[in-house]
């Protein structure tokens, strides 16, 4: 996590000081959004996850162990929240539109695309990422994009290092398989 939360602000927030909690929200929102977007794969769900993450964090702040890294702890809350949002979205999607087969690609806002090629790559990657399980996607996102160590990832996801490794291996294998047709053509 790039944002830094001082011990003083943290202590004040834990004592119930909302002004201090506001500093945390304002300072960490972009980091939380980035991770939530990586896990959920779309802006709308990521925004929901951001709001829910901070509400959960506020409720759980008392239980936060001051000895641990606050960034890792907040990432854990974010990852779990984003996974929950993702599951809710999947359930809704399955119930309302069983025939739709291009959901991941359709969720990318066209206005953000720089070119047709980039859009195609993005759609392919989004589709590949959507094939990962929640744990695989979360482990991959935290290790690859957030550059956390496997130990930190396992702490964030509340699992073992061994399980994290296996999830990462499966994620890379699936991505490689999904993206294999263009291997060697995008470097």
């Amino acid at each position: 996590m790039k944002a830094v939360v001082t011990e003083e602000v943290l202590a004040r927030a834990r004592s119930g000081d909302q002004a201090a909690f506001r500093l945390i929200v304002e300072g960490c929102s972009r980091d939380v959004f980035r991770l939530a977007f990586r896990i959920t794969g779309n802006e709308e769900d990521a925004e929901d996850a951001v709001q829910e993450t901070f509400l959960r964090a506020y409720r759980k702040l008392d239980a936060f162990e001051a000895r641990a890294s606050f960034g890792t702890w907040l990432y854990r809350v974010t990852a779990n929240t984003a996974i929950d949002v993702l599951r809710r979205r999947k359930r809704t999607s399955e119930q309302t539109d069983l025939l739709e087969d291009d959901a991941p690609a359709a969720r990318v806002a066209p206005s953000q695309e720089k070119s047709v090629y980039r859009r195609q790559v993005r759609e392919r990657v989004e589709a590949a990422l959507s094939c990962l399980s929640d744990l695989e996607r979360s482990a991959f996102v935290l290790r690859h994009f957030e550059e956390m160590s496997l130990a930190e990832v396992s702490e964030s996801l509340d699992t073992t290092v061994s399980a994290t490794k296996q999830a990462l291996f499966r994620a890379v294998r699936k991505l490689r398989k999904s993206l294999a047709p263009v291997e060697g053509s995008t470097s």
Binding site: R22, L55, R59, D62, R176
Partner: protein
């Protein structure tokens, strides 16, 4: 020698392979492994093409605007749970007149729970205020020429100490860990005050502990939470 597995290459790529792992040497010198690594890098480079949309500079403020609307209700609910639980534990103490000179429930019947909780809110608020006043006496009274506490202060500290223990136990039981931690810090100070710091040095040390732990500020926050309820 057989080539490393894909898992080994992933660990190597992410810098998670042990420095002492003998496979490192093989990977770094084997053309086939380097080729495999390049393929992996290309796949991961493609994944990097998907970047999260940028958020505006005021994004954090906008998130706070949304989040803050949800906070007061939850905080009030938590305070309600805590104080309602405190009511059951503190009722006997309250009726015995430890915190107030009011008589116990009259003969016309039991008080409603709302009234009881309101009284306990007042008692809690009073507790925090009285504790603050005592701590202020300690902080402000150690600069002058009268370093010792008068007997009244020690007696008051003893009373507050007993009340604080009850509140802390209740707070722990209902999961208000932060509040319980503050009350525990307060108790340590109250205990020392009730025993009477006999030297100027002891008084100064007490003052330093109060200031370093920001105890007056924390008590103000707790008191403010209770008053809002």
């Amino acid at each position: 020698m057989s080539h490393p597995s894909e898992e080994d290459l992933v660990l190597y790529l992410y810098g998670e392979m042990e420095e002492s792992d003998f496979l490192r040497g093989h990977i770094e010198s084997c053309a086939r492994c380097q080729e495999e690594l390049d393929l992996l890098r290309q796949v991961l480079a493609e994944v990097d093409e998907v970047t999260p949309p940028e958020r505006a500079a005021d994004y954090g403020a906008r998130v706070w605007e949304r989040v803050s609307k949800e906070l007061p209700g939850k905080k009030r609910y938590r305070a309600y749970v805590w104080l309602a639980a405190a009511a059951s534990l503190l009722l006997a103490t309250f009726l015995a007149g430890r915190f107030t000179a009011r008589p116990p429930a009259d003969d016309k019947g039991a008080r409603s729970s709302d009234v009881r909780e309101r009284i306990l809110l007042v008692a809690l608020s009073e507790h925090f205020e009285r504790s603050q006043m005592l701590l202020l006496d300690v902080v402000n009274g150690s600069d002058g020429a009268a370093p010792t506490l008068v007997p009244l202060d020690r007696e008051r500290a003893g009373e507050l100490l007993q009340a604080s223990r009850l509140y802390r136990q209740t707070a722990y039981q209902v999961g208000e860990v932060a509040a319980a931690d503050v009350l525990e810090e307060l108790e340590r100070i109250l205990l020392d005050v009730s025993q009477g710091p006999e030297s100027l040095e002891a008084r100064e040390a007490l003052k330093t502990r109060i200031e370093e732990r920001d105890l007056l500020f924390k008590l103000r926050v707790l008191g403010s939470t209770v008053r809002k309820f």
